[in-house]
Symmetry: D2
Subunit: 339 residues, 4 copies
């Protein structure tokens, strides 16, 4: 049986695969930020970003080169309808063809196009809000889940609370490049089911050098190469299926490192299949309600990673402000890394 | 009759109010960027931002304070259904109440919430893309409107082309504070129908001082106070109705100044009613297809403006990366100003 | 205080306007169909339609003239965004203009148009399902509301259960024509706040004659003229505002008459403002969870009513099969009356 | 080469598989209803239903048993995202769980649930409208496609024009039962690619007897068994993939028979792959713009067919009134057959 003593330094090989509930409970106790920023706090780990860390981070801009870390949002996206998650359906209210035909009824030669979209908020590049995941009916900061997220949305930790916060230092940990297979020249791809451990993270930081050290308030971007593979092979089960990702055993590191957020190039950030006999996203269950950690998913890290590999600099100025849908438990974002 | 000679320095009082089509045509010729960046160009004035201007702009971050310039996206927004533009309809796929009741079918105490949205892409804080407006069936860079925007979306200048570009220097021109009425302590509000001229812009720059000078690649934010009034009085006709805004006569300045983009706190950026007897958004018709100018609308500039007024610094780092909906002619954005 | 003794024959003038909760409770007891069709029943009053009543009803077709009782579903509909209820947003995926321009990529001259819609299920002509309204957390047939309608929809009484049932005898009671003002030649219009009582219904049946007698399994259509007024004056508060409609005191009649369903030409079927000092749709609270009554709203009865007035025949063959959205608590319907 | 002489009685074996455009052109000439009901006509073959045929059809109701011919509309439907066609996304605005928890803010114990949907109009059981398909840029009745269907929808033949018409005699032709394989006890299933010819239709009518004779104004329902197979095997490529269906050579019969409409249990009514080397839905291209034929797709005919097989009666009363979305080129319908 796993015990609280060993839980923070837990190694995958010591994990009791038959006891997800027990392990989650121990990790939750060991990694709890409940109450850390007061009973009213709604920001969780975003509290780690302050004006000082942000001002320092802006100094990381050297060349002025910007990288969008967002996938395109369109009907060719990764979703397959699982859990009512479709790809965005983008349709036109008016088009240039209509305009050119002169049927729009505007004066003096004006023509216009306009459009609408219907989509799940977590269909593509996105932040999980703190109301996205609960542990035994408990949401972030010890609140009852039903007091937080009703049919009217997240009444407390809605994504709009994060609107002005996520700008600071970003650090890329390119585990895919370090440990993955690069047969296809995509910069390295970890296989599905590969659990990235704390040791792997440390090795990656070590190998990448001083610009990859992690500090308080950082947004850590872990590249697995899973998206690169999807680009080669087609989406398949990219959204909702097997993937490399963080091991449940990294919960302690995610907590102790005082990072502001983590994001990966996979749909679910943690390894799938999960590291228990019967489980579904156990690391979410620890880090969202207990650590209060912002988690980014389906971020496109490949172009940024290629650039980092080339210049050997792994930190940068990152803005990743979600569209502030009131009460949303997740939201699309176009993260911008500037080096 | 207005002639090409006088068109660039055109003053409102010289405007032939009965001839929108003629004035638009002259301004279009005088302010054209067609072909300026090559026949294949899809970026328009975003070309004015380069890595150098961006790197310099990062130096504007001093305190590290961040301001979100986005309105909340929700059902209480400004839209009233005009032109099929509704407010975002945000609904939950799963909630905390469901989770707490234990009916979600997940193992080991996991619970989750998830959500969807249906909305027009220009319902709230947004960028107009270059495919949003046409002049006599012609889109940006001389293309036929119908070759650019079909029912499948914008095939050439879709908003995704801007995904990695809009990060650089922002400058606030607080015309509302300079010329508006501040009876309500909102920082100054211009009345509906107030046409902001080039002279007004110059006066504002002069009054605000060196940090307000405008240079190539800047994103200029013009605060009118219209949003402040809507916050006091209710949305009313905020979206689609009368408003203060830029005069058609600023087209020359918008072109010559080599700015990357302009944004305001109104729904349509230009003055409404327009400055012709019968017209609809004539300045759009000049600056989008001919100048190739990115235009931001419904940006919330009030908190930023209060801060600028206090410290007397009117420039800052700005990221305003739209969600890259493939083929969209406009898109939601959460612009982040960092001082 | 109102008591159970008098509750069934309750007259509006005896109503204790300060005690909605008490009156509702008494009516609920007096009019309960809970358990009437077994503990598993999900159909409520639709049980009153059987094959025999349906076969007889088909005999009401004489001339073969069909009337659609549906409003058009479009952006010009009655909704104003209240409670996130927008009008349908209908957009095109492909158009004839695209087809004519030859850009669709189909072979041999084929062209096509296709479309999508986003809408609340109760935005226009519709059935309320039995999961639409609860009384103190109790749904139809004594079930806990939370066991019936979750974020995944109505698990028990979803509108799909009604898919094959609603075809039978329809009877129009044109109270608007009998008691309303016909200054505008619309066939009579009751004023907002007009409470239609059991006496009014009886008088209407009496006046209209034998074809207006009500029997088991009938679908009763009560015309108030409110829609005719909206057509004259604009929608205004048609959806969600004041209206003529059934008095809370008709609950007993609605129960005892063994009708299968009732529908009106108003948004909410019962009189608004409601007949208590502080109340919201108290008759719904009685008839949906306790009677299990199907309620139709925003039906367009005007053309049918004009025809009935002309030929003096008030019953007809009616089919009103909702679109069977799985788990929906209401659904659009195009009811067809055939005389 | 196929010629006009032979085109009406065209047999599959005589088809020039390399010349879809030529064959379509000949069939279009031979089967044209252009102008038949006047230049302004928007109803096409629905003109074949009149009050007399409708009144007679009502006499077909004998037992009073009703069959819904609609699939459930939900996320588990046949669509896979092809051509931006998703399954309906149905979400709740309010739920019974919220109501039971007492957080809805209504007085006197009232609770409610409400819902929204986003969906393509042709995602499930549906009618194709006359604006759905064009031939070389020409829509029904000789109109230019771009004059009919713009970004604002179908301006002429929108589905709302059909709102009050489709009620009359329905006839089931169970070709799947006659010619299909019934190894699975589903009532017979034709294989994909099986082209149902005029001879097959005649044989089916002959075999089914007098109640299966086809007359003017009938709605003909052709069962292939393809849906029964999808129910056994999963949707797979049911929507958009291979299927049994009507041969292009039935165009003449569809025209001459003066039927009001045809519907099948497949996604596209005609055989797939089509009967040419390179083609896409050529029979649509003939019957929609030239015959003006209403085509129903993805109708669930299995329960009705089992009943017809049992009692040997193949005609019945049918109402199939589409939801009248203004300007729609197709619409969901819950067809009701009553025997």
């Amino acid at each position: 049986m796993t015990t609280l003593d060993g839980i923070v330094g837990l190694q995958p090989e010591s994990l009791d695969r038959s006891d997800p509930e027990g392990v989650i409970a121990l990790l939750a106790r060991a990694c709890s930020n409940t109450g850390r920023w007061g009973a009213d706090d709604a920001l969780g780990t975003l509290n780690h970003i302050d004006e000082e860390t942000r001002a320092v981070a802006a100094g990381l801009v050297r060349r002025g080169r910007a990288f969008s870390l967002s996938l395109p949002f369109d009907a060719n996206g990764p979703q397959n309808g699982w859990r009512r998650r479709t790809n965005p359906v983008h349709t036109m209210l008016d088009t240039g063809i209509d305009a050119e035909r002169g049927i729009q009824g505007f004066p003096h030669g004006l023509g216009g196009a306009d459009d609408v979209v219907a989509m799940p908020l977590q269909c593509s590049t996105q932040w999980d809000g703190l109301g996205h995941i609960f542990d035994h009916g408990i949401a972030y900061n010890g609140r009852r889940a039903g007091d937080v997220v009703t049919s009217a949305g997240d009444q407390v930790t809605g994504i709009e609370t994060a609107a002005a916060h996520i700008a600071g230092r970003g650090v890329l940990l390119d585990v895919g490049r370090l440990l993955g297979d690069d047969d296809h020249g995509t910069g390295g791809e970890l296989p599905d089911g590969f659990a990235i451990t704390t040791d792997h993270l440390h090795a990656c930081i070590e190998q990448q050098g001083p610009t990859a050290r992690i500090g308080r308030g950082d947004v850590v971007l872990v590249r697995t190469g899973r998206l690169a593979r999807a680009r080669r092979e087609g989406w398949g089960q990219y959204a909702g299926g097997p993937a490399p990702g963080l091991s449940i055993t990294t919960a302690g590191w995610l907590h102790r490192s005082d990072i502001a957020a983590i994001a990966t190039d996979t749909w679910g950030f943690e390894v799938r299949p999960n590291e228990f006999d019967d489980a579904f996203q156990p690391l979410h269950q620890v880090v969202i309600p207990h650590v209060g950690l912002y988690v980014g998913e389906m971020w496109d890290l490949d172009a940024l990673a290629a650039d980092c590999a080339e210049d050997g600099v792994f930190d940068f100025w990152l803005t990743a402000a979600p569209i502030p849908f009131t009460g949303a438990v997740g939201a699309p974002v176009n993260p911008l890394a500037v080096k």
